[in-house]
């Protein structure tokens, strides 16, 4: 929504974005559909055009708790770039999801054939992972909860 592009695609040069587009097609995923499951084969990835996706973790005996949501412009899926190419989390569409879907095996092959393209894609994915790691660490602090960590009164 901001006037300058950020995120996965924003990190790529136009030539690399064009190359990546050769492995892409548009998809529409219905509301509530499971997009992938934890431990499943990470053979695709997506850039969300509209709608949202919830990332969740399997826990026995209950619905999978949501750990993060993704929205417009976000990269959905990065496990496809790293062995063993298995999803770390599950994902479910929140509302109708419009996305660009990429064939992971073909993208990986292109990365191997064109080192500059491979470095650019790896760097763009790494930047996404870094942002999510930073966000995860921030949330580990449980910032909004403990007394004296931002409440008016500073513990008094």
């Amino acid at each position: 929504m901001t006037t300058s592009q950020h995120g996965f695609l924003g990190a790529l040069a136009p030539a690399h974005r064009d190359l990546l587009a050769a492995f892409a097609h548009e998809v529409e995923i219905p509301a509530g559909a499971r997009i992938f499951e934890e431990g499943g084969s990470a053979d695709r990835f997506w850039i969300i055009r509209s709608g949202g996706a919830a990332l969740d973790v399997h826990v026995p005996g209950g619905p999978p708790p949501v750990v993060e949501t993704l929205g417009e412009g976000d990269l959905l899926g990065w496990s496809w770039l790293f062995e063993p190419y298995r999803w770390h989390l599950g994902a479910q569409a929140r509302g109708t999801l419009l996305a660009v879907e990429f064939d992971a095996a073909r993208v990986r092959a292109a990365c191997g054939q064109d080192p500059a393209f491979g470095l650019a894609v790896t760097g763009a994915v790494a930047a996404v992972i870094a942002r999510r790691l930073k966000a995860t660490r921030t949330r580990l602090l449980d910032l909004y909860g403990p007394p004296g960590t931002g409440a008016d009164g500073g513990g008094r």
């Binding site: 949501t69 929205g71 949330r139 449980d142 910032l143 008016d152 500073g154």
Partner: protein
């Protein structure tokens, strides 16, 4: 900036205010509306704070979360003896109030610009008057975005008012820990920036929340091209006198009760990177 020693005598004298209304906002958080028993304090501006005195217990700084004529609204989280006493007040109770203290958000200086309000937890409290002021001046500012981060859905403040801010504002809400009924976003508040509508080069941003969240938000905005001088943050250090005398709230060259709590990121960033401060 008020020179040292120039604080009016009245700044040290609590003025009696009566609790006109109390509402539970979230677990451990209440909003109290105060009205003057006799004379009122000077008008507060969004971002400023009052020292609110629970008789026999003590006083604490509380940002104004609402300004309605002579009435002052404060939102308090029960975390210690004084805040617990204020949190537990019922309508009709009397408190002492000193103020107004500190710097405001400086909303008028953002005329014509997109506005980005980023709140974490109870940090929404001092930002609410700013949002209200922006909404009350249609055409004065560009696009208004309000990004809210909360621990859980139960901790969200000012419902349903925040829902009513839309569609005049783009209100995006995320929580750290969803419950089974939550259908909104999950994650840190900075993750909402991609869906906010603003021109990074000219946006005026207003950020309040836990300090790590402020740092993360400001750093991300600067990365996107925002002017650090137009990112206003509200900082917190222990305050006692609120008149710039006792030094408890010193942050480097600043006394936050007097030179803050609202400062620009240009001022705040180098200070927040000093571990000793």
């Amino acid at each position: 900036m008020t020179p040292p020693g120039a604080v009016a005598r009245s700044a040290a004298l609590p003025v009696p205010y009566r609790v006109a209304f109390r509402a539970a906002e979230a677990p451990g958080i209440a909003t109290i509306v105060l009205e003057p028993v006799r004379s009122a304090l000077p008008l507060f501006v969004p971002g400023q704070f009052a020292m609110v005195y629970a008789f026999g217990v003590g006083d604490i700084p509380l940002s104004v979360s609402g300004i309605d004529g002579d009435r002052l609204t404060h939102t308090v989280r029960s975390v210690g003896a004084v805040s617990a006493a204020l949190h537990g007040l019922e309508a009709g109770a009397t408190v002492g109030v000193r103020g107004p203290f500190g710097t405001g958000w400086g909303l008028p200086a953002a005329a014509g610009r997109d506005l980005l309000v980023v709140a974490g937890g109870i940090g929404l409290a001092p930002l609410r008057p700013l949002v209200r002021a922006a909404l009350a001046a249609p055409g004065e500012y560009g696009r208004l975005n309000v990004l809210i981060g909360s621990r859980t859905p139960r901790d969200l403040l000012y419902l349903p008012e925040t829902r009513e801010w839309a569609p005049r504002a783009r209100v995006l809400v995320t929580v750290d820990r969803p419950d089974e009924r939550w259908r909104g976003d999950v994650g840190v508040v900075t993750a909402l920036l991609d869906r906010a509508a603003f021109a990074p080069g000219t946006v005026a941003a207003f950020v309040c929340g836990p300090e790590p969240m402020i740092r993360a938000t400001a750093a991300e905005l600067v990365h996107r091209g925002a002017d650090p001088g137009r990112i206003m943050v509200s900082l917190e250090r222990t305050m006692h006198c609120a008149t710039g005398h006792c030094g408890h709230c010193q942050l480097g060259p600043l006394l936050l009760c007097r030179d803050g709590p609202v400062v620009s990121w240009t001022t705040a960033e180098p200070l927040l990177l000093v571990r000793e401060l």
